[in-house]
């Protein structure tokens, strides 16, 4: 019981999380509806149900704070859905605040803390005060219609209220009778709902009990509509609906409550003869009879009902790790097969093993792909949160902001989505706070008072791109540069030769900000440097474009998944490194003659453009003593004994002339860097494992990876290398690790 109790609690937390997220979405939809004066009552009921479920769960799992908040909210929402309280922007504010507080409570519950959250108590008090208000809703008696009393008996309070509200509006009532196949009922019902929605409101669904057999069921659907019988019949024609208007009672004043059997218009069903039901287990069941031991085949279908399962992400991680281990086995196996084939003995056997290995590879690939897909969730999850933030901040800052979201369905690894939430939130705050101008300012420069922030997501190859683009004031590059110099981030000299793109990139350096005043929302000490670091941890990059007076666009480029990557394995001196293939554009042989030194940086010209080089051996201090560079800091190997070396350093070669080197061209966003390596070992799928805590702070590596046959490769963190070497003053190429310790 203890273990299943834990499971239940986990389930509770994740379900509560989901409900709260859904709640946020519904509130946004309500907010939109409110502004357009088109409130969907079913949406209010959804919100009520969400809170209602939270309350029930909180009660069971002893989450007292959540229970008391839910209780007060439920009271309010009950009044809202029963029409006793009107939904206003103020009420909606309360509800939005509750979403945020649920988040805090859940966080505390997850961490097992039972701390006081003053905001929650405050909201509970406010709700309590608010709860007193409320007027009796205008109601009209359903007895004006010839409704089946047995139908009235099964309505929940809410359904009864909706019935009354619709009657009060003078709408017509219809009974739709539909036969559904049980196998497809969900889909068929959704289609019917979508068809019916434009024409009125569905109040309830009632299984008639007739026509029910093992495969199908008959439902009576009570619907209110302003549309005439023929028109509605026409509108629902494709749904296989038998439609009948429920007549108003003649001379009804609405006062008579009794509905005699003579007035019942919804026909009573006739039960099907039992012979019509073929399944043995359908015999009238009684307890403990032989039917319970019916064919096991029937039971096989019992569990196939749920369409989705909830899985702990850590379980998927474990599966992923196993697949990772299998990938390593695959690599070793491939090597063995190669050896076997090279031996030229037992050729048939070798061919068989080879074929088997290929099949294994294919299936393993499919499995890996499958697990990756399971881990994918739509970005909409985090976008919804952002939409709430926009609403909240723009209200606080008294700015009018219209958030336009595209690509919310774009899918990314669950872990990335989780980690993305904070950085995106911060960027969104910046966009509203520093980007979008006040109404007055906007009008003064001839912009519409309503600012626009576009949040776009789309897939681009192996990456997902997220853009946050505002039409605000843009970044003032001269002020930014001035501030950077003043704070000593760059030297006055550097400032004179810096490009516009480099200036914009200064916002990612700690301590640089153009706003002198600290704002309520974004000035909390978390700067764009933290955003950049966090995005970088996910293997992503962030770029900024800005035009003064026109707006700012932040572009985040992320890998779709973190777990397994294809990498180019290279050898530098005697060490193995893996460069993520996603960052590799191409690999070419280094022509030492082509290397020039510009501004203290080694470059080559590749396909018409200049490519900065980075010698990994030097960077990681792997060069042996004999090859240590001399005074000017450039490795002698750049000359590599090639005749006519163009290097500024024409020292005699210390390396055998036969030693070829390669340039692995890495690209991160629009920036490129040529990594100079010794040997290209090959392409391989690798599982990235985090470095231990002691090495966590080391920049330049994304992790380590086992390559099979007990060899270990450090995985190059291309984005951080590119950053480091492209930074102003990046020519001061400094070793990121000083360790010379052995490994592997």
């Amino acid at each position: 019981m203890a273990e299943s109790g834990d499971r239940a609690r986990e389930e509770f937390l994740s379900e509560a999380q989901e409900i709260v997220e859904g709640l946020g979405r519904d509130l946004l939809a309500l907010d939109e509806g409110l502004r357009a004066s088109r409130l969907d009552p079913s949406l209010i009921n959804d919100v009520f149900r969400a809170v209602h479920t939270l309350k029930g769960l909180a009660g069971l799992f002893g989450a007292t704070r959540m229970a008391s908040l839910s209780h007060e909210l439920e009271e309010l929402l009950d009044k809202l859905r029963l029409g006793k309280v009107d939904l206003t922007a103020g009420v909606l504010d309360l509800l939005f605040r509750s979403v945020q507080l649920y988040g805090l409570i859940l966080q505390a519950e997850k961490e097992g803390r039972d701390q006081v959250i003053p905001e929650v108590d405050e909201l509970v008090r406010e709700l309590n005060r608010n709860g007193g208000a409320g007027v009796a809703a205008a109601a009209a008696a359903p007895s004006r219609y010839e409704l089946d009393p047995s139908l009235l008996a099964v309505l929940t309070e809410y359904e009864e209220h909706r019935l009354r509200a619709n009657i009060a509006q003078g709408l017509r009532l219809y009974r739709l009778r539909v036969q559904f196949q049980l196998a497809t009922i969900d889909q068929a019902l959704d289609e019917l709902k979508a068809m019916a929605k434009p024409h009125g409101e569905i109040i309830t669904y009632l299984p008639t009990g007739a026509g029910a057999d093992a495969d199908s069921i008959e439902l009576d659907i009570l619907m209110a509509s302003a549309v005439g019988t023929e028109d509605l019949r026409h509108a629902l024609a494709s749904g296989g609906v038998d439609l009948e208007e429920i007549p108003r009672r003649a001379g009804s004043s609405g006062s008579s409550g009794n509905t005699g059997p003579s007035s019942v218009r919804i026909p009573q069903h006739t039960p099907l003869p039992a012979s019509g039901l073929g399944v043995p287990s359908l015999a009238p069941p009684s307890r403990h009879d032989e039917v319970s031991h019916g064919p096991k085949g029937d039971l096989g279908t019992l569990r196939s009902v749920a369409q989705t399962v909830r899985v702990d992400i850590h379980k998927l991680d474990r599966l992923m790790n196993i697949v990772g281990e299998l990938s390593i086995v695959r690599t070793s196996m491939a090597r063995l097969v190669e050896r076997l084939r090279a031996e030229r003995i037992e050729r048939d056997l070798a061919a068989d093993v080879h074929r088997l290995q290929r099949t294994f590879e294919r299936h393993l690939g499919a499995m890996q792909q499958g697990i990756l897909e399971v881990r994918m969730v739509p970005l909409g999850q985090v976008f919804d949160k952002l939409a709430r933030v926009v609403r909240q901040i723009s209200r606080e800052a008294d700015k009018l902001v219209n958030l336009v979201i595209t690509g919310a369905e774009t899918e990314v690894d669950k872990l990335i989505v989780e980690e993305l939430s904070d950085p995106l939130m911060h960027m969104m705050r910046n966009a509203i706070d520093h980007g979008i101008e006040t109404r007055g300012e906007r009008e003064a420069v001839g912009k519409p008072a309503l600012g626009t922030i576009a949040l776009n997501a789309f897939q681009k190859g192996n990456h997902v791109v997220i853009e946050i683009e505002d039409d605000g004031r843009g970044i003032d590059t001269s002020r930014l540069l001035e501030a950077s110099v003043r704070r000593g981030v760059i030297s006055a000299d550097d400032a004179r030769s810096i490009s516009r793109a480099e200036i914009l990139n200064l916002i990612f350096i700690p301590g640089v900000s153009t706003k002198s005043e600290v704002s309520e929302t974004s000035g909390r000490g978390v700067g764009m440097d933290v955003v950049k670091t966090n995005i970088g941890k996910l293997g992503g990059v962030i770029d900024v474009q800005s035009e003064q007076g026109i707006g700012t666009k932040m572009t985040v480029t992320l890998p779709i998944t973190l777990a397994i990557i294809s990498a180019l394995v290279v050898l530098v001196e005697d060490r193995l490194f893996a460069v993520p293939l996603a960052n590799v554009q191409e690999a070419v042989v280094l022509d030492p003659a082509a290397v020039r030194v510009i501004d203290g940086r080694e470059v080559v010209t590749l396909r018409g453009s200049t490519l900065q080089l980075c010698r990994l051996a030097r960077l990681f201090e792997l060069e042996t003593q004999a090859k240590q560079p001399t005074t000017n800091g450039w490795p002698s190997s750049s000359g590599a004994g090639a005749p006519g070396s163009a290097s500024s350093d024409s020292r005699p070669a210390a390396r055998p002339a036969s030693t070829r080197q390669y340039v692995v061209v890495t690209a991160v966003g629009a920036r490129r860097l040529g990594l100079v390596v010794g040997t290209l070992v090959g392409e391989q799928d690798v599982v990235i494992k985090a470095l231990g805590p002691s090495l966590k702070g080391v920049r330049g590596f994304a992790g380590a990876s086992e390559l099979g046959d007990q060899r270990i490769a450090l995985v190059i963190d291309a984005p951080s290398l590119v950053d480091e070497l492209h930074a102003p003053g990046g020519e001061r190429v400094r070793p990121m690790i000083a360790s010379r310790g052995s490994h592997g």
Binding site: G5, T53, V154, E157, I185, Y205, A212, P284, V305
Partner: protein, 139 residues
């Protein structure tokens, strides 16, 4: 053994009930709890096996617990199955309606594991004993 159909749209609530009923003697050795996440799923599952008890929530979208109850009681096939309502519904209204429609018991959420074990044991041991009063006794 006994087979229970548990109709509840909250997965956590279903897990809670399942955990509470685990090893309950009245369920027998290989007792079984079949879960339905909605009224529709309940309708789908009802013909698939013989159940000894239906436990249902009231507040569910589309087909609510009262509608399910009414269907079960009207059906010649299922009308004998005892039915226990679990609901957070605060109002007396639904409780009364449920009992009027033929529910054998009503358990208000939140309930303790002991309460549901007790209610289920009573319902399974034959509702001849005054229509589930025992189940109703705890609210």
């Amino acid at each position: 053994m006994a087979r229970i159909l548990l109709v509840e749209d909250s997965a956590a609530m279903r897990t809670y009930v399942r955990a509470a009923l685990e090893g309950l003697p009245a369920l027998g050795d290989d007792g079984e709890i079949v879960e339905a996440a909605s009224g529709f799923n309940a309708l789908r599952l009802l013909p698939r096996a013989a159940y000894d008890l239906v436990i249902t929530d009231i507040n569910m979208p589309d087909i609510n617990g009262l509608e399910l109850l009414s269907f079960v009681r009207k059906s010649p096939l299922y009308k004998e199955i005892p039915l226990l309502i679990i609901s957070t519904q605060a109002s007396e209204r639904d409780r009364e309606r449920g009992l009027a429609l033929g529910a054998d018991g009503f358990l208000a959420k939140p309930f303790t594991p002991e309460a549901i074990r007790h209610a289920v044991t009573q319902s399974l041991s034959g509702r001849g004993s005054s229509g589930g009063d025992a189940a109703r006794s705890r609210a």
